[in-house]
């Protein structure tokens, strides 16, 4: 029997939702809070409030692969140079966490902390992104940061620093639930297929497709139209994906010409194969088998009322929330 593409994709999204790994997510958040508090205690008034970014914050995370990004905005006068800021943060994290981590590594613009496995076998990964406000005392107003570029390649190959506005990147995807569903699906495909493409690139190209084309219909029809947009546009001369955090960054510059053509070809092949046989959708967009049956246990509906209870409720005396 042919696969119902819409229903299959809904199931793909459902089985990749973060709620299935809530305990693990809680551990990430607890560890993140610990690190945030340690940073605030150490750097005091030299930093503004650290905040989450990345797929958690953008609500595009999928439960097969994720880490948690924390941005630490330093004040302009806290360090003479961006490199000193980056090194200071690395030294502090190394000193503080060397005994409880497998690795503390310098990454392109962040410092990655990979904590040792806990008793459940879970490994927490945090990416800490230091940034220095661009203009003295203006960060609260303009959210502009300068990041130090440690590892130079691709778009960063000739840069020592990069100006960005991470809040603008987060805002760019706010209230775009349809776009987020397609981004999650493309991330699932990408992760299942060697993770060749940056999630941020897939995010920007999806949002652009929704802006430029009439992306409507059911979930499959929306995905199909976005894939067609990528197929048609990605290898075109002059096609740009401008970073909402810095209009000088074009994410298309991170791809070589042959990679653009390759991405276009892969979209074309996928579309052809799925449209010739709907079962093929399962190989490109697989469900997460670990959580396939999680939501089938409850078929009840409506708000429940306890039998024999009082007509109204009084909340219990003391409750604690976090």
């Amino acid at each position: 029997m042919a696969t119902n593409k819409k229903e299959h994709l809904q199931n793909v999204l459902e089985t990749h939702r973060m709620k299935h790994v809530q305990n693990l997510v809680d551990k990430f958040k607890t560890k993140r809070n610990e690190v945030k508090e340690a940073l605030e205690a150490h750097y005091g008034s030299n930093i503004y409030y650290s905040f989450d970014s990345g797929s958690f914050k953008k609500r595009t995370a999928i439960n097969t692969k994720f880490d948690l990004d924390v941005v630490v905005p330093f004040k302009k006068d806290s360090f003479e140079t961006l490199e000193k800021m980056y090194d200071s943060l690395y030294d502090f994290l190394y000193e503080e966490y060397q005994d409880v981590t497998e690795e503390i590594r310098k990454q392109t613009v962040s410092i990655g902390l990979i904590f040792e496995e806990d008793e459940d076998g879970d490994k927490i990964c945090l990416d800490i992104v230091p940034g220095r406000e661009l203009n003295q005392d203006q960060y609260s107003e303009d959210n502009k940061l300068n990041l130090f570029v440690y590892r130079k390649y691709g778009i960063f190959s000739s840069s020592t620093h990069i100006q960005t506005n991470i809040q603008a990147q987060i805002d760019h995807i706010k209230a775009k639930e349809n776009e987020r569903k397609i981004i999650r699906l493309l991330k699932i495909w990408n992760n299942n297929d060697g993770k060749e493409y940056k999630s941020f690139l897939l995010e920007l190209i999806t949002i652009k497709a929704f802006e430029k084309e009439d992306i409507s219909g059911n979930l499959w029809e929306k995905l199909e139209k976005v894939m067609e947009y990528i197929k048609d546009k990605v290898a075109e001369d002059g096609f740009k994906l401008i970073d909402p955090g810095n209009s000088n960054n074009d994410l298309m510059d991170t791809l070589e010409d042959w990679e653009k053509t390759n991405l276009s070809n892969r979209m074309e092949t996928m579309l052809e194969r799925i449209n010739s046989n709907s079962d093929n959708i399962k190989s490109y967009f697989p469900t997460n088998k670990d959580f396939e049956d999680d939501d089938k246990s409850s078929n009840s509906s409506g708000y429940g009322i306890k039998t024999g209870g009082a007509a109204y409720s009084t909340p219990p005396k003391n409750e604690r929330f976090g």
Partner: protein
């Protein structure tokens, strides 16, 4: 604003201005967490919850990552609310200053305690988490509690 939870196939309706009023209270306590109780009523078929108001706790403790509230001395308030307006306590709300609207293990435990409390007659209390900054509400997410899980409305 009308939200839907597909897990229990229920609706939640709240006026945008009410949500903004709740958020404003939360912002006043920034950068600490703050919260309180949600008041509302159900449709006759128990498929829709109308959130009609919110109540601040008489006593509470708030810090950057924790909010503890007490309902001590408020029993008569909830009793009168039902007698006069046929409205009930339907859930809880609190803020995550500069945080996400995801719930924590502490939040889930609190909702487990609430549902299992003998003074609570509802099986599916709701939880509203507001992400706030010093100036504005960043995001708000409602969850329905069901069988030791919190499931978001969309």
């Amino acid at each position: 604003m009308k939200l839907y939870n597909k897990h229990r196939k229920v609706e939640l309706i709240i006026d945008q201005k009410l949500l903004e009023r709740i958020g404003k209270k939360g912002i006043e306590h920034f950068p600490n967490e703050f919260g309180g109780f949600l008041i509302g009523k159900y449709s006759d078929d128990y498929k829709t919850l109308f959130i009609s108001d919110f109540i601040l706790p008489k006593s509470y403790k708030g810090s950057r990552y924790l909010f503890e509230r007490s309902s001590k001395g408020m029993k008569s308030f909830f009793s009168n609310l039902f007698k006069k307006k046929k409205e009930y306590y339907v859930g809880e709300w609190h803020t995550h200053p500069n945080g996400s609207t995801g719930f924590s293990a502490t939040d889930l435990n609190a909702m487990i305690n609430i549902e299992s409390s003998t003074s609570v007659s509802i099986k599916n209390p709701v939880l509203l988490i507001l992400s706030v900054s010093a100036q504005k509400i960043n995001q708000a997410t409602f969850y329905i509690y069901d069988k030791k899980k919190l499931l978001p409305y969309e």
